[in-house]
Amino acid sequence: MIDFVPLWTIILGLAVFFYVLLDGFDLGVGILYGFADRREARNLIMNSIAPVWDGNETWLVLGGLGLLAAFPLAFAIIMPAVYFPILVMLLALVFRGVSFEFRFRDAEHRTFWDHGFCYGSAVATFAQGIVLGAFIQGFQTDGRHFTGSSFDCFTPFSLLTGVALVFGYGLLGAGWLVVKTEGTLQAWARNKGRWCLIGVVIAIGTVSLWTPVLEARIAHRWFDWPNILFLSPVPVITIGLGLWEWRSLNNKSEVAPFIGAILLFLMSYIGIAISLWPMIVPYQFTLWEASSSPSTQAFLAVGTLFLLPVILMYSAWSYWVFRGKVRADIGYH
């Protein structure tokens, strides 16, 4: 029997990363939206993501279902453990999702839906950050069940990762807006991007120092010889990316800030993966221990390997249709 676990680790890893990038930039755009004060600017900001946001959010469903399908034990332990962050995230996403249509068609309550959009985006992001922090910290289990309390996930560390993700998505959102807008709005996005980058750099630094303190195994993973030699490029590249991002937010380049933000996320993602490998329920179950039956993974792999490229193709096409600077005449008016 072929071992499908590596394949599913890659697929799920990609799905989660796509989610973080795609919904990351449109949640980030939602967060920044709250800082824009002119109606026209707000319309443009919202229209820059209107045609693509629900496709982006679909990756969240795929990430959740992919975890259930490939590593059901992880799904069954982690989901109840992060009961409240998930609840808050889902409710915030409801407000944010409907405000696209509602804000535009329900002019009397526009302010309410404006708030729904930006607070919804910010709260959903913060909640996702808490999920990330709780995940890194690990869970109290007995056999195949989570046995802790639904409030265990709220710790200083997870609150920090929550704030970190708000800055991170904000940076992605600012990068997206630099790509999609021009003139004063673009300059505004660059300015917001710089603030977010400062937050991101502080957050990455703090989390990177705090994580090894939190868990001795992670400290050994990074600092034991010869690991420290092989792994030292990760922080070095990240620092380099941070500097490059700062420069591209300040010069004229239009695509570089978005690319830089993506690469910063990629490096953080790789960093977390190195820290936790090969655990899927940190410090309790490895990817192999939590995996679904080989027949399940094989049955789903056949379709996924065919469908995922097709999905990427037509999703790319729908981005292509709406390429270029966001126009006032496409989208909501």
Binding site: A50, P51, D54, G55, T58, V61, L62, G64, L65, G66, L68, A69, P72, F75, A76, I78, M79, P80, Y83, F84, I86, L87, V88, L90, L91, L93, V94, F95, G97, V98, E101, F102, R105, D106, R144, H145, F146, T147, S149, S150, S292, S293, S295, T296, F299, L300, G303, T304, L307, L308, I311, Y314, S315, W317, S318, V321, F322, D329, I330, H333
Partner: protein, 470 residues
Amino acid sequence: MSLDPLLLSRLQFFWVIAWHILMPAFTVGLASYIALLETLHFTTNRAVYLRLSNFWTRLFAVCFGMGVVSGVIMPFQFGTNWSRFSDATANVLSPLLAYEGLTAFFLEAAFLGVLLFGRTLVPRWAHLIAACMVAIGTLFSTFWIIATNSWMQTPAGYEIIDGRFFPKDWLAIIFTPSFPYRLAHTVTAFYVTTGFVVVGVGAYYLWRKRFVEDARVMVSMTLWLLTVLVPLQIVLGDMQGLNTREYQPAKLAAIEARWDTASRVPLTLFALPNETTETNDFAIELPDLGSLILTHDLNGTVQGLKDFPRDQRPPVAIPFFAFRVMVGIGMLMLLLIAVSWWLRLRRRLFDTRWFLLGCTAATPLGFLAVLAGWITTEVGRQPWTVYGVMRTAESVSPSLTGRDVLISLLGYAIVYLIMFPAGGALLARIVKRGPTTEQHAPVEGGRAREAVTATPQVTEKPPLGAGGHS
């Protein structure tokens, strides 16, 4: 009173899925209707089809948005509240759910953007294809979710090792005994639901004497469709009933409030089922008809609830009444179709005011029937999540306290009670504005801020006489 996380989790699941199911009940049919209108516009170039397509697409966008956000919540329910169910069934069920995401959600999402905002950006044929892809996506989605539900109702193709389900035969897992009937019954229900909304809105315009040409197309075309679909739905429902009798006899007994196994059973029109005395109070019955309908044989035997241990019986009153609501609505729909033909043949379809008013009042009937039918089948499945194998009580997440679930249930209650009424008000507003070609953008500084979509200039066929397009 102590708070029971099991009961509260069930209430929460009911609450979030009951609202959610209303959205696909409408958007599945509407996506196909929009694809049909786009095809008609593409082939005939008649402007009325473009106007109608744009109009219904506006309504579709609002409902689809609410469907997406309430749908994202659903898979997470499995994890947060039903983790033991997830752990036990994931090997079998998770690919079906994942395939729903892979084949349907992305298709819908990617092409919806083009359908909504891309009319001026892509060639006409590409826009038509986008409309068709959205429609196909909604049908794929229905296929997989009904396959999942059917497996829970009539599980097959699995083996149990250490209390967890493992797949043995994927075709048997997808095509379970109840799946074809449930799928046909559900899709038809969704189409009928959309049909009555379209007829209701069209009749409202005719009644108010607005958008008369567009309204006639809506009403006439859709009543044709419903003439086929409503009787078909009754046949499909009957077939699913036979299937339920074979595979879920306890559910059927609850639906009929039948306590004793007997042949030549009566048809119970109304009763108050009493679970303590195991009898029906105030029963109104028609002799022998029960056997005829349920078994297609006057002497057919129907199993009673007393054949099943008490702890394996579903609640009786809820499926009993929900089923009667569903069937009652079906009969009402049939009556409306019959009346429409009586009027159509007399060429009075579009100007009989009481009929138009009746059609408008019938707008929500499909939604009520879908809800009632869904309640019938899901409550009838109790006390099991996987019929006959895994109990609902064994499915809930062990870490949850009653307080946890009460908080989350209140959260969902408050948010849904803001969102869905707001969405409903918005839909009403769009309907009030109607299938107009006038631009809704505010004109600022005397200049439209919006590109004007050119509609192909074609001469409209003059409307036929008072009889209309029948």
